[in-house]
Amino acid sequence: MSSIPPDVASQTRPVGVQIDGVTKRFGDATALHEAWLKIGQGEFMTLLGPSGCGKTTLLNLIAGFLEADGGEIFVSGSLMTETPPYDREIGVVFQNYALFPHMSVAKNVGYGLRMRGVPKREIEQRVAEALALVKLAAFGDRKPRQLSGGQQQRVALARALVIRPKVLLLDEPFSALDKNLRGSMQVELKEIQRKLGVTTIFVTHDQSEALSMSDRIAVMSDGRIRQVGTPDEIYRRPLDPFVAAFVGDVNVLPARLERRLGDMATVALGEGRVQVRAETLDGLVPGAAVDLFVRPDAMRFADADGVLAGTVATHVYQGSHVDVLVDVPAARGGRVTVRVPGHEAPGRWPAGAHVSLDFAAGDAVAFASDAK
């Protein structure tokens, strides 16, 4: 698979967290294969991947809850290998929040300050500030169980931030919230993070959450970092078929590499010819089988001379857009999704209509075919 060079993101800001070839094994299973990653100070980095991809393992290694089997982790330039979790100055928000059930909200938030021997007056003041930051100023005397899930979430965030951590780690913090609340918490977290400028590492399996919140995303699978980039790079220029398929919806069209010319390559899709970037086709010779990945929103209906022909099967109304499902014999799975803004698609392209499909040059990405 494509390996990520350590300097993949040439950052202008100083490095907040640096992961140098970190490996972690559990018995015979390798949870993390030599991960390399540089996270800039104040950056919002998301580790995105399906469950079991190693993202939480990496988070636990940074927090110091696990010991790496190889490689090194630096926080603000200091090597963390010998530093126990209680000396790392890293704030953690857990998936289930892990609030101390026997302490009031204020005691929970002030816990880290008490452990540091901060004077009582200052603790009170900083706890009040932290609770105000998460809009829970009036809730200091409550017990965690008296709060809703969203409120517990904020307490956990305040507790992690009040110690002014060098890094904030969040492990799937929104997975227990319902969809509406999740959306507003995402916006709120992003605003707080920007305001405080704290280096943040956010773990999620939810690609839309990753795309909407992150400065950069590291997509992971099978214990490996597949690609690191801005949300737009990840979405539009995936370097790896896994990344292309995991982030966003995708249509897969079997095709054949025709020729390469510098940075670009020409791919034969039936009778049509498609220009793609050559960066994802290393090592392939003309004639090799490739898969073309095209997003549903990049597909469009052509008048008659599109590269694909098919029959409209059905429509999926999604409010702001309509997904038109088209039976295309040439596509992987025999079907292609075309995303059309607005609500007029069913009228213009009714079920059973024969249609021609097309997409703009540059909207398709080609990878070596994994079909045997």
Partner: protein, 277 residues
């Protein structure tokens, strides 16, 4: 159609009544002995007949004033206090070790947790009596206490172990990330959350120890006899309702203590792994 509906409804009713009757019968059988004993305690006559012909509180007076009972009660308190407290410390240590670490003999310890009933009490009592005879310690409190510790240890371990299992490990990680050293995290987070489990373990140990008879019969002497042993000795000489009166006092006090404990600590939570959280 109509004619068949009505018998079906009646059948349903009969089933319902039958169900309730079975439950009532079961409950009745469970509390029947206690009820019979409680009523007998108020019998005026000096024999254990049922139902009583005339009523009196004299056997309660005798239960409180009979010297062997007073001594047995006192001995029982001393033995119970030491035995349950020692068992709590040792059992909690074992439970902690089993929950957190892997070591040789862990399986054996776990087996102790899950099968405390394999060795009969009289075997344990007899074993300790033989051992104590070797060192001429058959008349000591230490012998009774050690024997009781062994008897109640599995129950304490189980109770603490269940509470430890129910504890969310991430709480300690959260404490660590906030700057708490392991000892501090234990003191400020783990221990406070374990208190109900520790207390209920201690309480069970205390009740078991205080009530224990079979092994105690072997390991107690005249000077160290506990209340159940004193009661056994009493019933060999007298057949009056004093023991019934004592039983009533026993039940009332134990029920009172358990209710108090439940009120303050919510024992229901720590008795069952599945129920917690």
């Amino acid at each position: 159609m109509r004619r068949r509906l009505i018998p079906a409804r009646i059948g349903e009713r009969i089933l319902k009544v039958a169900g309730w009757s079975v439950v009532a019968l079961i409950v009745a059988f469970i509390i029947l002995p206690a009820v019979v004993v409680a009523i007998s305690a108020f019998n005026d006559r000096a024999i254990l007949t049922f139902p009583p012909q005339s009523w009196s509180l004299r056997w309660f007076r005798r239960a409180f004033t009979y010297r062997d009972f007073a001594v047995g009660f006192q001995n029982g308190l001393i033995i119970t206090a030491f035995a349950s407290s020692i068992a709590l410390v040792v059992g909690a240590g074992f439970a902690f070790a089993i929950d957190r670490y892997s070591f040789r003999g862990k399986r054996a310890l776990e087996a102790m947790l899950t099968s405390p009933l394999v060795i009969p009490h009289f075997t344990i009592g007899l074993g300790f009596l033989i051992l104590a005879a070797q060192v001429h310690a058959t008349r000591t409190f230490a012998l009774v206490i050690v024997c009781h510790v062994v008897l109640v240890l599995p129950f304490v371990m189980r109770s603490v172990y269940v509470s430890l299992r129910n504890l969310d490990g991430r709480l300690e990680l959260a404490a660590a990330s906030l700057g708490a050293r392991p000892g501090m995290a234990l003191w400020t987070v783990t221990l406070p959350l374990l208190i109900p489990g520790l207390f209920s373990g201690w309480l069970f140990a205390a009740i078991l120890s205080f009530n224990e008879f079979t092994a105690s019969l072997f390991v107690t002497a005249q000077a160290t006899q506990t209340l159940p042993v004193a009661m056994y000795n009493y019933v060999r000489e007298y057949a009056d309702p004093t023991l019934a009166a004592l039983s009533v006092i026993y039940i009332v006090v134990t029920a009172g203590l358990l209710t108090l404990a439940n009120q303050f600590l919510g024992l229901g939570k720590v008795l069952n792994v599945e129920h917690a959280r």
